[in-house]
């Protein structure tokens, strides 16, 4: 397995980096400020952990899926899953994004001693995500609400290890869930035990931190409280009400690495959570692993969540959206690889990529 210099050549220099932060764990050579993640000094290590955990180095995702989701029926659009629900918290909390489900699941995991701590992203300011480790409900509530600026929060895994935590819940974007699985899949024999319960988020893209500079220069006097992306609009909740920002403007701040992403629903997570598009105040929850199911059951038993059957037409819409992200991602990957701007991190000729490319080529000229 190659090391830091190859990671720099293949991932960091090609802007393929997803900013998951997994490589930052343990490493003195890699460092980030905001969304700039670089190899700050040349790394002499020939076989690096960084390269082995990165979701943008060549990976056999099917093999990883086999390892962690072997007995779960596989869906080519939204990944292996058991059930999909629509879910909301019974007693809403302040700042919750949609149904407040993620905060509730974390609380449940802690209450039931399923984990010793949770790794979440939050801060007083919705535009400057800061990852932190929490081990009590109060801290979790402070992180409520989505952050749309990318944060390499997995760098905090080291801190969890240093604190002696062996069971950790991690809330992450799809790329981060991928990295968590790779961390475990490729872990060295002498690696300290770390058991991760992954709560994957739905993610279309994350934004570059220069979006913050854009807002600061466009609205110098406003305080930003929260950001939401209902269908076909981007809404900023400010101290002077909601500001609508054109989708095209926001899209120009999408991190380049996100354009290569094929995963909208955190397909390798134990449980995935996203917005429920048709009705505000609800979440979509995809139960994938037994652990994910157990977590949701415990929250239900504790009367914290209202859990309902998922409308079948909405499931189709979800699958369609997820499928479209794969098509876009594959198109972007193929183009960049053809132009020699990207080292392929998946085998485009393998299943299911081959089929998706073939199918969409037939439809619209890939």
């Amino acid at each position: 397995m190659p090391g830091g210099m190859q990671l720099k050549a293949e991932v960091l220099s090609t802007s393929a980096c997803a900013l998951c932060g997994a490589c930052l764990d343990w490493c003195p050579y890699l460092k980030n400020i905001e969304d700039h993640l670089v190899l700050r000094f040349d790394c002499p290590v020939e076989h690096g952990r960084c390269y082995s955990v990165c979701p943008r180095t060549l990976t056999d995702w099917q093999a990883i899926n086999e390892r962690y989701l072997a007995d779960v029926p596989y869906d080519s659009d939204i990944g292996a899953y058991q059930t999909v629900f629509r879910v909301r918290r019974l007693q809403p909390i302040q700042d919750q994004q949609d149904g407040g489900t993620v905060s509730t699941l974390l609380q449940t995991a802690l209450d039931n001693n399923m984990v010793e701590g949770v790794l979440i992203t939050g801060s007083g300011d919705p535009l400057t995500p800061q990852p932190y480790l929490a081990d009590q409900e109060e801290d979790i509530r402070k992180a409520a609400g989505s952050r749309f600026l990318a944060s390499p929060s997995l760098r905090k895994i080291m801190e969890a290890r240093e604190k002696g935590m062996e069971k950790l819940a991690v809330v992450g974007r799809p790329c981060q869930v991928q990295a968590l699985r790779k961390m475990d899949y490729n872990k060295p024999a002498d690696s300290p035990p770390l058991d991760v319960l992954s709560i994957g988020l739905f993610c279309m893209w994350s934004l570059s931190w220069s979006f913050k500079d854009y807002l600061a220069s466009t609205y110098p006097d406003l305080t930003f409280l929260r950001m939401a992306i209902p269908q076909h609009a981007v809404e900023l909740y400010t101290n002077e009400g909601i500001k609508q920002i054109p989708v095209e403007t926001v899209q120009s701040y999408i991190r380049p690495g996100c354009r290569y992403c094929l995963d909208m629903t955190s397909e390798l997570a134990d449980i995935s959570v996203g917005a429920f598009e048709p009705e505000a105040g609800w979440n979509t929850v995809i139960v994938r692993t037994e652990r994910g199911r157990e977590l949701l059951d415990k929250a239900r038993e504790a009367n914290l969540l209202q859990i309902e059957e998922y409308p079948s037409e909405e499931l189709e819409r979800l699958r369609g959206a997820s499928h479209n992200k794969k098509v876009r991602g594959l198109r972007n990957i193929k183009q960049a690889v053809d132009e020699q701007k990207l080292t392929p991190f998946i085998d485009l000729s393998s299943s299911p990529y081959r089929e998706i490319i073939a199918e969409s080529s037939a439809k619209e000229g890939f």
């Binding site: 343990w26 050579y29 400020i33 700039h36 290590v45």
Partner: protein, 632 residues
């Protein structure tokens, strides 16, 4: 060794360093005022004068820059006392205008301008030849060839200066300044030269009316040089080859002639007075030999002046050899006996098997690994360069860093992760940065940084800072404040509350100066790498002219007063060569205090050199480096 420069035992011979001989010469001349800005190889001179200032009843100062030093000497001269200004070749150039105007006005009390050149640039960025400045300004020039002359020429220089009312330049080189040889002492005066009242019609005016006066003074000096004991000939009556030489070239020439046994064929005209040339004396020997070799450091200065004499005397039939166009000697870099031996052997058609210069004799070869120039253990500059480099890399905006002159110049090499993009002269960084920062308006969008040390800041950055602030250049000026002129040996500067004579001085705050011109200024600690990286990152994203002071006292100096904390490596925690470290402390951080034990495969601290700054402990990803009483 300072007792030697003040001991009153005329006629007694001591082994003296060239710089000591120069100090002794100044004291024998009754110097009352001495000023300098530190620069190798001349730095020891003013340090010694400062130490003996009380005892010898003189005034010495480390001036803010060479221009201040020289013009202060001119002021003291106007007050009737003898004044010595000490510079190195680069410092001499900063005096340019002042020197040329001083040559027009002339002086009253004797003024000797001692310039110490550095052939081969052992401790300089260049090997500029000061002698051009003497000719350009039109002042007499003396070049000592021995340690005795280093002393005697200072005394003579003051006498000459007062005799003709002109500044006299004495040009030394590293081998004289830092070499040692026998010096026989002269008498010390009862008291140094004393102030003379300035009358209503006494003037010190530099204006072009006096251009002819300047030439007349040179003519007067030339007449005196014809009879000077600093010039002499040795050799046969009619030599086959005449060597004309000055300074250390004379020593090499004597050795070459003796080694090749050419005493009967080759004559040596040794000149101590090299501008204006004693033309009659030179002509006398030019007539005797068909071939002339000029041996000198560094430029063909003497050679071209001899060529000038030949050109003005058409009857002469002389073939001239020297450094010009490499006709006999290399055009650049320092001479040595071997180079001169080879040149002479070739000209005399003798086979001479030289030892190869630079080749280490087998018996001297021991197992010493090659080493880079680097910062001392615990040096705050290492931390500053580390954090600046990583900030620019993290920012991903291809930041450009304009360098300056000081210890931190080494940061342009591996010790500083090759951070610097430019290297020129004192004060260049801020000015070049100002220009580059103005290009933002034309689409140049790389962050621009300029560096300077605290001493350099006072020396030559103030006008540049005012300029950059006034024109609001888009740049970050980083002052690496280690509270010392560390490169040259901890001489005081205007930020230090004690002057070179050990007396209290009115130290001033750099940040207050910066604030006073309206420039936003931030002070941060380079040892706090994580926090200060964020500070730099935030600053380079801001438009306009900003100043950052990275302040941490020179560790070599600080450890003398504060003592050192113990730092050690816990081998259980050290990851060694494995991933997650890869010897980060000794390889990347690179402090001489961080070493590697090949036997155990673990990092260690070299307790001999470690000063206990503890910065490496904050960088170790495994937390394996421990510091007595916690981290820095």
């Amino acid at each position: 060794m300072e007792w030697m420069v003040t001991v009153n035992e005329p006629g007694k011979t001591f082994l003296m360093q060239g710089n000591e001989a120069i100090v002794r010469g100044a004291l024998e001349a009754g110097v009352r005022f001495a000023a300098a800005y530190p620069g190798s190889p001349s730095s020891e001179i003013l340090t010694m004068l400062g130490h003996v200032a009380d005892e010898m009843n003189l005034y010495a100062e480390w001036s803010t820059n060479e221009n201040c030093a020289f013009q202060a000497c001119m002021g003291a001269s106007f007050g009737g006392v003898r004044a010595l200004c000490v510079v190195k070749q680069n410092g001499l150039l900063t005096i340019g205008d002042a020197l040329h105007t001083a040559a027009l006005s002339g002086c009253k009390g004797g003024v000797v301008l001692l310039t110490a050149d550095d052939p081969n640039a052992h401790s300089s960025t260049n090997e500029f030849d000061s002698r051009h400045q003497a000719r350009a300004a039109g002042i007499p020039l003396l070049e000592p060839a021995t340690f005795q002359e280093a002393k005697d020429m200072i005394v003579y220089g003051f006498e000459l200066s007062e005799k003709i009312g002109q500044v006299v330049m004495v040009r030394s080189v590293t081998r004289i300044c830092h070499g040692r040889g026998n010096v026989t002492l002269g008498e010390l005066p009862e008291s140094p030269s004393s102030p003379v009242p300035i009358g209503e019609w006494d003037k010190l005016i530099a204006i072009n009316w006096f251009h002819d006066v300047l030439w007349a003074k040179l003519d007067q000096a030339q007449e005196l040089f014809e009879e000077s004991p600093f010039n002499w000939y040795s050799g046969p009556e009619q030599p086959e080859l005449l060597i004309i030489t000055s300074g250390t070239g004379w020593l090499y020439s004597v050795e070459a002639v003796e080694t090749l046994g050419l005493e009967d064929k080759v004559g040596i005209l040794k000149l101590g007075c090299t501008w204006p040339l004693p033309e009659k004396l030179v002509l006398k020997y030019l007539c005797k030999s068909p071939r002339v070799l000029v041996v000198e450091e560094v430029d063909p200065f003497l050679e071209q002046n001899v060529a000038n004499i030949i050109a003005h005397n058409p009857g002469l039939n002389v073939q001239l050899y020297g450094r010009y166009k490499k006709s006999a000697l290399p055009q650049s870099f320092e001479l040595n006996p071997d180079v001169v031996l080879n040149a002479l052997a070739t000209l005399m058609d003798i086979t001479y098997q030289s030892s190869k210069t630079g080749e280490v004799p087998a018996e001297a070869v021991v197992n010493i690994p090659p080493r880079d120039l680097t910062f001392c253990a615990g040096c705050p500059h290492r931390a500053s360069f580390f954090l600046l480099k990583q900030t620019l890399r993290i920012h991903e905006g291809n930041g450009v860093v304009m360098g300056d002159i000081g210890c931190y110049t080494m940061g342009g090499q591996r010790a500083g992760h090759f951070l610097l993009h430019s290297l020129a002269c004192m004060g260049a960084g801020i000015n070049m940065g100002e220009g580059l920062g103005q290009l933002t308006r034309f689409g140049f969008n790389q962050p621009v940084l300029a560096l300077a040390g605290d001493s350099t800041f006072f020396h030559s950055c103030l006008p540049g800072l005012v300029n950059a602030r006034y024109h609001d250049s888009n740049m970050l000026f980083v002052i690496l404040d280690n509270s010392a002129t560390a490169m040259t040996g901890f001489q005081p500067h205007p930020g230090i509350p004690v002057n070179c004579m050990g007396q209290p001085a009115n130290a001033m705050s750099i940040e207050k100066i910066v604030e006073a011109i309206g420039c936003p200024v931030t002070v941060a600690d380079p040892y706090e790498i994580e926090a200060t990286t964020q500070v730099v990152y935030d600053l380079i994203k801001k438009p306009g002219m900003k100043v950052l002071i990275l302040r941490q006292p020179c560790a070599t100096l600080a450890v003398r007063s504060k003592g050192r904390r113990k730092v050690w490596v816990d081998p259980e925690l050290c990851r060694g060569d494995n991933c997650g470290c890869g010897r980060f402390c000794s390889k990347t951080w690179g402090c001489p205090g961080n070493i590697w034990n090949n036997q155990t495969g673990k990092a260690e601290i070299d307790e001999v050199v470690c000063v206990g700054c503890g910065v490496c402990a904050s960088l170790c990803p495994a937390g394996a480096i421990k510091v007595e009483g916690g981290e820095a």
